[in-house]
Symmetry: C2
Subunit: 314 residues, 2 copies
């Protein structure tokens, strides 16, 4: 059995893996070579190196383990035709992303950007405009592992959470639930509006100008899902018109965000270059998910964790 | 009964108070006048306007309600001699302070200062050095309302909390406990060291260079208690020698911090000008504590909440 990694884990993570599975041939490369792809039984990849063309050479491949949560860039059709099982690291992002979201929310509430600027001027001033997170209301769009985790943390801070998904069915760590159709009624209640929605037809341009118009004037809008949620022009127009208070954006319709884009320089916009899921512990966590799946696979079992349905896109 | 406020609550907070206690004469001023002090039965103050001299005029005064947590600046002896009851708003700071502390910790872990600087340059880069708060260990010195609240929140983030007080006796939201004498053994375990200790003889220069030397090289040290905890020269020397990773300081030996002080410009020091307890909801919260005490007082009861022992200093 040949397992082909198209990235190289650090030695302290790689060596225990190799030692734990002595009957497996592990190939570690930085990048994908056709030669190794042809020989691989299992591929471990971040997912961005696969395309329709190189999939033609994946003649032995039975399982792709994607060390990533999004799969938009994968050649779904070619993979399905070859009947290759795909599993991913669903849930791996929840800790760093929820921590990033709380970092941004608390930084705004507790005036950290202002404190940093005062420090640069060596200026001792107590005129910070600080408020509290406690007793706010957050509306969370998208209730997978990440949405639940941010809901859990917000509740610990005394925030009321309203979850929002397609069905409006109950979800963990949500005090109340609404469905997409009830957005217009839920938005005016929220001090914080968070999206962690995946990219699907239904989520594309789900938020329109009318939605921003009913937000509280000091609401914090955070997009940590996908950039397709709202047209950048709409967002830009809404924030400049003061329809809401603050935007924290980790994702954009067009990435990277163009250097001359107006969003970079608006005082009440934070541009995070799609890094909220990054963590020094990412590969460690990926391997923690990979190992039990590999054990199952070696026993001939196919009911791995996080098997993906490529036809649905997640 | 005359109740004299030496500050003016906003009308939306003041008016309901006045309406709720129709038999009380409320005087609201911004600042203290001897004339009104002489006539007052009850004084509501932030505490900084009292001194040995003006206390001579407080001949009717029976109760001082201090809308503040620290009382170092109050003329303790003069107040005790007049047998005046003092109560305060103990616990009022816990929400804004714990939120500020979590804001600073998460901002460092999730590289917010770096993200802000990149944005100023309109530079899309993913090279942020981000880590996670989860699975860290925090050592918390001082376990009153604030220490417990920050412990509670840290635990929600999956952090192991070690509490530290004089006795080492169990406290809420602490996974383990140590006493002051065990600091040298506890410090090397901590990724985050937080002090919320009050100013007493025992806490003055409690932390010495040897303590910083045993900290983890990437530890975050946070002083949100009082500046007497460590000599500023010691702190400055320790951080410049790289004994620990990051300092977040809300309090200083000498406040305001002098404009030419080296701490302002060190890259791994955050100077917060003693504002972590500030909140737009401060007066609202103070009055919520004051009202039930006033009801008791009007019934002739003396067992108010948060009665202070001025002889002990807290």
């Amino acid at each position: 059995m040949r397992i082909y990694f198209t990235f190289e884990p650090r030695p302290d993570l790689r060596d225990p893996l190799v030692a734990e599975f002595p009957h497996v041939d592990f190939i570690f490369e930085t990048g994908l070579s056709i030669d190794e792809l042809q020989r691989a039984d299992v591929l471990v990849t971040y997912g961005e190196d696969l395309n329709n063309e190189n999939m033609n050479y994946a003649t032995n491949l039975k399982w792709i383990f994607v060390a990533s949560a999004g799969i938009e860039k994968m050649p779904a059709q070619a993979i399905m035709e070859r009947n290759i099982l795909v599993s991913n690291v669903r849930g791996i992002h929840k800790t760093p992303m929820a921590e990033s979201m709380l970092a941004h929310i608390l930084a705004i509430k507790r005036a950290l950007p202002w404190i940093y600027e005062q420090q640069k001027k060596s200026e001792w001033s107590k005129k910070a405009k600080q408020s509290e997170l406690r007793d706010s209301t957050a509306l969370i769009l998208g209730l997978g592992a990440i949405g639940s985790e941010v809901g859990r943390l917000l509740q610990a801070f005394g925030v009321t959470t309203i979850g929002c998904n397609r069905s409006g069915k109950e979800a963990a760590y949500m005090d109340n639930m609404v469905c997409f159709d009830q957005l217009m009624e839920a938005l005016p209640k929220a001090d914080i509006v968070i999206s962690v929605l995946p990219k699907t037809d239904e989520t594309t341009h789900l938020l329109k100008l009318e939605h921003f118009k009913v937000m509280k004037s000091n609401a914090i809008f955070m997009n940590f899902g996908r950039g397709n949620l709202v047209e950048e022009d709409t967002l830009n127009q809404a924030i400049q018109a003061g329809e809401f208070g603050y935007a924290v954006l980790d994702v954009f319709e067009q990435e990277p965000l163009a250097a001359d884009h107006p969003l970079w320089s608006l005082p009440n916009v934070i541009v995070s270059p799609h890094i909220s899921s990054h963590s020094s512990r990412y590969v460690e966590r990926s391997l923690e998910i990979f190992k039990p799946s590999l054990e199952k696979w070696l026993r001939g079992e196919k009911d791995l964790d996080n098997v993906m349905d490529l036809s649905r896109g997640y």
